[in-house]
């Protein structure tokens, strides 16, 4: 249970880090909070030749206001930092509510926002939340910079649109439109455990109280999460969100959008059941937050 040997670099600027990734390509692995990578090294499930430690790059640890009510989160902002940030709580309350669901305090003190997205663990909350909120990810390499919409960033199990010479440097999370509501729900055996299944819901109503936009994103279904439940969203969009419509939306999500698998923690059937129940709860709470105007 000890990491294999590797070459270690601890750059202090983004440019230095990009230089190292450019030079070492697939052999290099950026080290963010290390709360997934170091256990992986301890188990020797990964043996990168080079580690590029980002923890000394002070330019990556921030939460800043962006334009139009958005928030810009530096890739190395730690979960505990984001959890306590007043701007996050005010502008992107779904993120504020999701962070305490991530592991335990000890992990949140090291784990980072960008690290969680770049790792894209299918059981993680932040990829689902970032997708549900239509976040954008700023990615840099030595020669170029690009913004990747969340919908194009998460490509499957532990897979993202990042090239080996690229580094995720920032995430922009937009504010929700007026008359929006949001919620996140998950079932875990103990607080801090990875969820058996989770879902986050974001809905926006129009002037006639019909659903103008809806997003239901699942994580930890046992499939290639985060899973954007588009068929379910279609059931809801254009309708008044009555209890019947919400139930039909959750049922569609559970039966059509997700393809759960079973493991020792939960059977596929139980995950499908959870998907329906948790989606209903998330949609109901999201709706409640719109109608009571408790958004900001």
């Amino acid at each position: 249970m000890k990491p294999p040997p590797f070459e270690y670099f601890a750059p202090t600027t983004i440019e230095e880090a990009l230089d190292l990734l450019d030079e070492h390509g697939w052999d290099a692995k950026p080290l963010a909070g290390g709360q997934s990578l170091i256990p992986t090294l301890n188990f020797r499930l990964a043996q990168p030749a080079v580690l590029v430690d980002l923890n000394n790059i002070s330019d990556l640890f921030y939460v800043r206001p962006g334009i139009n009510g958005s928030v810009r989160i530096g890739a190395m902002a730690r979960h505990s930092q984001v959890e306590r940030d007043a701007l996050i709580a005010e502008r992107v309350p779904l993120v504020h509510e999701a962070i305490p669901l991530i592991a335990h305090a000890q992990i949140r003190n090291r784990g980072t926002f960008g690290g969680s997205l770049a790792h894209n663990d299918p059981a993680a909350e932040l990829p689902a939340v970032t997708l549900a909120l239509d976040g954008r990810l700023r990615v840099r390499s030595l020669s170029r910079e690009r913004w990747v919409p969340a919908g194009e960033f998460f490509l499957g199990l532990f897979a993202t649109a990042l090239e080996p010479d690229e580094l995720l440097v920032e995430v922009e999370v937009p504010a929700l439109p007026p008359r929006s509501g949001w919620a996140i729900r998950e079932m875990a055996r103990r607080p801090g455990d990875f969820a058996l299944l989770g879902v986050t819901a974001v809905i926006t109503l129009d002037d006639e109280n019909e659903c103008q936009a809806a997003r239901l994103v699942f994580f930890s279904t046992g499939g290639e999460d985060p899973t954007d439940a588009r068929q379910a969203a279609e059931v809801l969009i254009g309708e008044a969100p009555t209890p019947d419509v919400i139930r039909a939306t959750a049922e569609t999500a559970a039966s059509e959008d997700i393809d759960p698998t079973g493991d020792i923690h939960a059977s596929a059937e139980y995950r499908r059941h959870l998907a329906k129940v948790l989606a209903c709860q998330a949609l109901e709470q999201a709706l409640e937050r719109v109608t009571t105007g408790a958004l900001y």
């Binding site: 249970m1 000890k2 990491p3 294999p4 040997p5 590797f6 070459e7 270690y8 601890a10 290390g34 709360q35 170091i38 256990p39 090294l41 301890n42 188990f43 580690l51 430690d53 923890n55 505990s80 592991a103 335990h104 305090a105 000890q106 992990i107 003190n109 090291r110 103990r190 607080p191 801090g192």
Partner: protein, 170 residues
Amino acid sequence: MENLFTVTVTVNGRQYERAIEPRLLLSDFLRHELGLTGTHVGCEHGVCGACTILFDGQPVRSCIMLAVQANGHEIQTVENLALDAKPENLHPLQVGFWEAHGLQCGFCTPGFLMTLLPFLEEHPDPSEEEIREAISGNLCRCTGYQNIVDAVKLAAGKMQETQAGPGGAA
């Protein structure tokens, strides 16, 4: 042969300098390089919490950090709690665990204590639910947690009584 890195780390108020391999875990650095064996190593993959230390004042798991990352940082381990080995000089948190029988084999205890120290400083009068959430990242196979929860309640009162506490970390 890997390159050695020279790190300077302040542990429990004392500065140490060592030349280490970058792959050395912080938990092993504390135990094997510094001889501070109060920090226990359970699962070595960030699940059990036995190796919890304070890194710049915040609880973290030392088995999923590299020692080289501690260069220039400040660490507190369980050795910093009591002034010395005399029972009257234990930290009130330790006294709480002792009196409420918050440990049996004691293997997990250093991790619990280091998790709880900053928690109780931030929550001087925690509810049972807050306590259970606070210790959710630490596994104990002996107590069933009930006595630990009782110990934390007892310790919270003791810490309020003796604001400064006898230990160096209080």
